[in-house]
């Protein structure tokens, strides 16, 4: 694998301008002071309770996502291009979803193959012909970005269902400001704290027509045992809306109400952090105790807005991903600003043959997998694992895509042996309301803490960093 581009020291060790001040500061700061702050940060995270639960472990083992105190810095110029690309891509995703559930022009034009849509479990036939308020399907998108050199950002994944991580973007910043006020004073860092405000106005803007002028927004969580529960309660608190569970809601005459100490109160917009499968046992999984019976019929009647809409998973499917540049061109008539990582679709015979021949060099991902589960990282895998994967691929080629192992960019990171480069990615959050599309300048930088590792997922031991967009 080629030497990775380092965001501080470039490819050739030449300090990049955005990092000049940080580099000076690092030179002045003794390593044990950094270590001290790191320990302090961990204590803060633990006390505030910023944890996530790992499935399959007892509730008492809420884990901290390791936090790295060295910020990742992106210049204002780089960001504006990234931002334009994110907005463009999200706009196209929303048009694509509307089209798939209405006229299906894109299928007739042969840009995306039919079976990829209709045989996909994330496609929701219930949504056929169903209008959603203001044609917004993906109100909150978390688009994963990686970088391989000074000039190029690649989209790694479009998260269009219930993307998480934004609480870390906000909390990381709070903690950094508490621990390193001097470092902030030496930079002009674009603030991220407006995110909750923007999210709330985004959600209010998409209220259904039958809502009052002051629409009631609530956040639907699967409950305190969910791995992202901290984020749910954090956001509800910042938004100033009720954090509801399925059992708090009741549907009457196709309207959704929450049970309060003063009786039933209508809900107009539900920011739901519960997957389609679980939201309504009458329509989807009948065994779901987390959802609200009748929610879908209220939705169909146009009396509640669900954010994100039902059926958005079809757009963030990893197989659909490979068509995203064509999707952008089809709807917007523009060249995509952000590139896709080159992707082989194992469902296509030619691609499959190539992938099978080059398994040792590729990353193979399950089309429906998430969180780093079920992937093959060719260069890091044993012969036996590769062979086992080869069988899986042959058995079910349409279940997989493959990508080259990118030399993901690295950032200086605190490790047991001092500062060292570690691979990072970035998840910015794109908010689409009835009129505006917004990206708060920042995002969640995830960092692979193991030397050489490319796996940044929190469920796989990755950590996070504060992400600074310089306001230039």
């Amino acid at each position: 694998m080629a030497v990775a581009f380092d965001e501080m020291n470039g490819l050739d060790g030449a300090l990049r301008p955005a990092y000049e001040e940080l580099s000076r500061w690092l030179a002045e700061t003794p390593p044990d002071a950094l270590e001290h702050r790191r320990a302090e940060a961990e204590l803060l995270f633990r006390r505030i309770g910023i944890t996530f639960a790992v499935y399959g472990e007892a509730e008492s083992t809420e884990r901290l996502i390791p936090f790295d105190v060295i910020p990742r810095i992106i210049s204002g110029k780089e960001w504006s291009r990234l931002e334009a690309g994110l907005k463009q891509r999200t706009r196209a995703i929303n048009m694509f979803l509307k089209d798939l559930y209405h006229g299906r022009d894109i299928l007739r034009a042969g840009v995306v193959p039919d079976d990829l849509v209709f045989q996909n479990p994330a496609f929701r036939p219930e949504m056929n012909g169903q209008d959603v308020p203001h044609d917004v399907y993906v109100h909150i998108a978390g688009i994963d970005i990686v970088r391989t050199d000074p000039d190029e950002f690649y989209v790694l994944e479009d998260n269009a269902r219930t993307p998480s991580g934004v609480s870390y973007m906000l909390e990381n910043r709070e903690i950094m400001m508490r621990l390193f006020p001097d470092l902030f004073a030496r930079h002009r860092v674009a603030p991220v704290e407006k995110y909750p405000d923007e999210l709330l106005s985004c959600l209010r803007s998409v209220a259904p027509r039958s809502a009052s002028t002051e629409p009631t927004v609530a956040l639907l969580t699967p409950g305190v045992y969910n791995s992202a529960f901290y984020e749910h309660s954090f956001l509800a608190d910042k938004l100033g809306v009720e954090l509801v569970e399925g059992r708090d809601l009741i549907v009457k005459n196709d309207e959704v109400f929450m049970r309060t100490t003063e009786g039933l109160k209508r809900v107009d917009v539900l920011y739901r952090r519960l997957d389609d499968d679980y939201i309504d046992p009458l329509t989807f999984r009948p065994d779901s105790a987390l959802g609200v019976p009748g929610l879908m019929s209220a939705y169909m009647a146009g009396n509640i807005t669900l954010a994100n809409a039902v059926g958005t998973g079809i757009a963030d499917d990893k197989a659909m991903y490979s068509y995203m540049p064509d999707i952008v061109k089809f709807y917007l008539g523009e060249e995509p600003i952000l590139k896709n990582v080159p992707t082989w679709r194992c469902r296509e015979a030619g691609d499959l043959a190539y992938v099978l021949d080059n398994l040792g060099d590729l990353v193979v991902k399950e089309v429906h997998g998430s969180g780093g589960y079920g992937m093959l990282i060719g260069p890091a895998a044993t012969k036996a694992t590769i062979e086992a994967f080869r069988d899986k691929l042959k058995r079910e080629p349409e279940g997989f895509i493959a990508q080259p192992t990118l030399a993901l960019s690295t950032c200086p990171t605190c490790t047991a042996s001092g500062l060292a480069p570690r691979h990072v990615d970035l998840r910015p959050f794109v908010l689409t309301g009835s009129k505006n599309i917004n990206v708060v300048p920042g995002g969640l930088t995830r960092v692979a803490l193991q030397e050489g590792s490319l796996v940044v997922n929190s469920s796989q031991g990755g950590g996070t960093k504060d992400t600074w967009i310089l306001d230039e």
């Binding site: 006390r47 309770g49 509730e59 305190v224 309660s233 954090l243 708090d248 049970r259 100490t261 003063e262």
Partner: protein
């Protein structure tokens, strides 16, 4: 406010209050059992501790002999005792976590910090009396901090009032339970009152509800059983007395009623109990039967819990 939020706040306050009461019960029992046996007599104080904690059935379903080690373990730490101090703190933290948005940062910090300490410092119980004393202090301080941070930082709205309802309902139950178990000690039946045996038992009652000093300030007399009963039942200047708890319950329910523009069965029921306490005299209570009076009160208090549940929490 969501009904579930109100319910969680209510139970959160109850669990913390209960944890503190249990810690006080253990502490008071330890003091009595530390006395030479001549002062204590033949009674098993640990059995009595289980009774005041309402845990005697649960305990004896598992074990025969109630001695210091087994009872302390059961009340303080037993994972299979749903009301053990450890389980109270765990349950409180779980409630707190699911309604974090309704808590202030200070309250969350207290309860989460206590939970973390429980896991890191107290996960293996206690091995010595010194450790046990530290643990009991930790529990009481947690309760004080939690109560204090609620008092100092919460908005005075329904979230606050519902959590206060939980606290006072639990507190009234705890005080009544002590009286119920020890009522025979308070009965002025023979002339031996004031003997060392009774004296230390009475002290332990007062210590359990943190009212020993208060007694002397109020009555300026040596310990007399009917005055102890008067203090714990009717004196509304003592925060843990039944009268004081009901003054607060009525006040908080009224505040909820005003804020919501509606009164109901809970307000009426609480007012009824308060009025009875207000118009009672300790002599009449003894005349009619202390035991019967307390039993009736406990039932009434439980009933209020049910009514509040029906009116607001379901």
């Amino acid at each position: 406010m969501l009904s579930r939020t109100a319910e969680n706040l209510y139970w959160l306050a109850r669990y913390i209050e209960r944890a503190e009461y249990l810690a006080r019960t253990i502490e008071a029992t330890l003091r009595v059992t530390a006395l030479p046996s001549a002062y204590v007599g033949q009674t098993n104080e640990w059995d009595s501790a289980l009774q005041t904690a309402g845990m005697n059935f649960g305990f004896h379903a598992k074990q025969e002999i109630a001695d210091e080690e087994s009872v302390v373990e059961y009340i303080a730490f037993a994972p299979d005792n749903p009301s053990s101090i450890r389980n109270c703190i765990e349950a409180a933290r779980l409630n707190a976590r699911s309604v974090r948005t309704a808590l202030t940062g200070e309250m969350w910090d207290t309860i989460n910090g206590a939970w973390l300490e429980l896991q890191s410092v107290w996960s293996n119980g206690t091995k010595s009396r010194e450790q046990l004393a530290r643990f009991l202090r930790f529990v009481q301080e947690t309760s004080l901090r939690f109560d204090g941070s609620a008092y100092r930082t919460m908005l005075r709205n329904d979230a606050y009032w519902f959590s206060r309802l939980g606290l006072h309902l639990e507190r009234a139950d705890n005080t009544a339970r002590i009286l119920d178990v020890k009522y025979h000690l308070l009965l002025p039946q023979d002339e031996h009152v004031g003997g060392p045996l009774d004296y230390y038992q009475w002290t332990s009652i007062l210590r359990s509800v943190s009212a020993l000093t208060a007694y002397h300030w109020v009555y300026r007399e040596t310990l007399k059983p009917w005055l102890i009963a008067d203090l714990l039942i009717l004196n509304d200047t003592l925060p843990r007395s039944l009268a004081s708890c009901y003054g607060n319950l009525v006040r908080n329910l009224d505040q909820i009623g005003v804020a919501y523009g509606r009164q109901g069965a809970a307000q009426r029921h609480a007012r009824g109990i308060r009025n009875r306490l207000e118009h009672s005299h300790i002599d009449d209570i003894f005349q009619r039967g202390l035991h019967e009076f307390i039993q009736e009160f406990i039932a009434d208090n439980n009933r209020l819990g049910e009514i509040i549940g029906k009116q607001y929490l379901i």
